[in-house]
């Protein structure tokens, strides 16, 4: 479903060029749970931006569901993000004054979904993310960290995206809550067959995924199935 071929990304700051990605290639199939792991400065954020259609590569190609995404305009990228990608951020990024339901319906506004349909989809997504029904009308600044991240997951799910892209989803949570969130991702992958890409620098977090792509200095250093790797040991 995702085909990435020899992607490079170079940033120009003044006279110095920074090579964030120096030729990355991999494929991700529908229903996979993949972790992209690497220390800070490894280029994993840049890679996430490209997979998430927030940015385009300097060279190389990125095909999502047979569509080349690497050379689209800003508004075409917005269209892709709107319909094909669901984001979960480290800092949650909910609208603080809006209710849980309002936050989850937000992507549907931009996807031009009918008003009647929106609430139904939002409730379904919130249930899949394991959110309690009695909190749907709470304002998001009245929730705990774990609950907030579930709302964010529901928001990522709501428009039925091809990929859910989670950028350090547990970075701002304590270990216990973090594990609950990661369990939620695992459940979404196993039970609802969602394709999930998890970006993290923590090995323990990456272990929740079935496949780990290890990045360092803009290159893939290791790409392996967790279970197969265990066999090698």
């Amino acid at each position: 479903m995702i085909e990435i071929k020899n992607i490079k990304k170079t940033y120009q700051t003044g006279y110095t060029e920074t090579h964030a990605l120096r030729g990355i290639s991999f494929n991700i199939k529908t229903g996979e749970f993949v972790a992209i792991m690497g220390p800070s400065g490894s280029g994993k954020s840049t890679l996430m931006h490209i997979i998430g259609a927030l940015d385009t590569p300097t060279s190389g190609s990125y095909t999502l569901d047979g569509k080349d995404v690497s050379k689209l305009s800003d508004d075409e990228l917005a269209e892709i993000r709107c319909n094909r990608i669901g984001f979960v951020f480290q800092s949650f990024n909910l609208l603080p004054r809006a209710t849980v339901l309002r936050n989850v319906t937000l992507p549907l506004i931009y996807a031009n979904k009918r008003e009647g349909e929106r609430e139904m989809l939002a409730i379904k997504a919130l249930e899949s993310a394991g959110m309690d029904k009695d909190r749907f009308h709470h304002r998001s600044n009245q929730l705990s960290g774990g609950q907030i991240q579930r709302v964010a997951i529901a928001r990522a799910l709501v428009n039925d995206p091809a990929i859910i892209l989670a950028d350090e989803p547990t970075g701002n949570l304590d270990t216990q809550t973090g594990n609950i969130v990661l369990d939620t991702f695992q459940k979404l992958n196993k039970e609802l067959k969602r394709t999930i890409i998890l970006i993290t620098h923590e090995k323990e977090v990456a272990e929740y995924a079935d496949r780990i792509i290890h990045i360092r200095d803009g290159l893939i250093v290791e790409d392996g199935n967790k279970h197969k790797k265990e066999l090698y040991k």
């Binding site: 927030l54 508004d75 917005a78 993000r81 951020f89 990024n93």
Partner: protein, 408 residues
Amino acid sequence: MTTTDIIHETISALTANKVRTSLTMLGIVIGISSVITMVSIGQGAQSSIAQSIEAIGSNLILINPGAQRASGYQVSAGRGSSHTLTPADATAIEENVSNIQAVSPEISGRYQITAKGTNTNTQIVGATPSYATVHNIQIDEGVFISDQDIRNRTKVAVLGPTTRDDLFGIDAEAMGQVIRIKGIQFKIIGITKSKGGGGFGNQDDMVYTPLPSSQMFLLGDSSYLTSIAISAIDSSTMTNVQNDVTTLLLERHRIGDPTQADFNIMNQADIVSAASSVTGTFTILLGAVAGISLLVGGIGIMNMMLTTVTERTKEIGLRKAIGAKRRDINIQFLSEAVALTIFGGMIGIILGWTAAYIITKLGVLQTSVSLSSILLSFGVSAAIGIIFGYYPARRASKLNPIEALRYE
């Protein structure tokens, strides 16, 4: 993004910081309300001046001595005193021009008048009985100047109510009393009804005396008039009467070239339009001064919107990440600015209207709020929202989602 969504987003954004929203809106409220009030004062002045010109008489044509001039442009350099109109001209007009209701030969001048130790300086008009018809003069007490007064050159006077009040005290009994003009005694035989209207050619502060008496006793010369006023039968015949009178007078004064005429002739419509061009300028001036405050209000909106965009950078980043296009962000911020100005504009209209109403009620000035000034200010406030909201909204829509999401 549907219209309902935009309205919802706008309301929740504007109610998030109510103090800031209302302070910003206040700029527009003050701007719009002062435009409404100022323009209503200007238009009120315009209509009250038009009214007081109508009060001079109906279907009136005025002939003054001196060269013709384009209305409103040239200062009459002392030609008002030219001795070119004669009583014979007035008689000739009455006899030869059709569609005339009455012709009033007049002389006028300002004199000091005294009565029992008090005195005042006012306009003395030498008039004939037709003056009352031509100028819509109505008598409150006593009688106006009669044909007999003209024939006998009696020394009688009819006073305007203001003159009566100045000389004898407010609403005092003045009938039969004597006033002195240039040392000559005139007996009061009548008081005119108040016509209202102030300042501009106040018809209430006047003394009317029989035309021959004033010529003889005040000017010492009965050969000329200071003006002839004609009232036409109705407004449709005014132009014809004006043309006929011009032809007749040119002929009588033996002048071939109409541009060299030694008199000028104006009808009431000319006077009204000359006066309203003055008040129109006045209205524009007032409106422009108020408009400056509207501009300042608009800059306030822009300032707030720029602050909002900076504060909400992260939110904009998120919206873009979940699929908002440039257009969506643009519309969202633009509609916030427009909502501020439209709502502020509506409050401003109500406030300005109230202020104009109070000004009228207190009797300070006559005001009139017109539909056009309301529609205009409403349009202007919406336009200000668009103009001053455009730049901040554009800035928001152009934010890079990655950088916006990282913004702390």
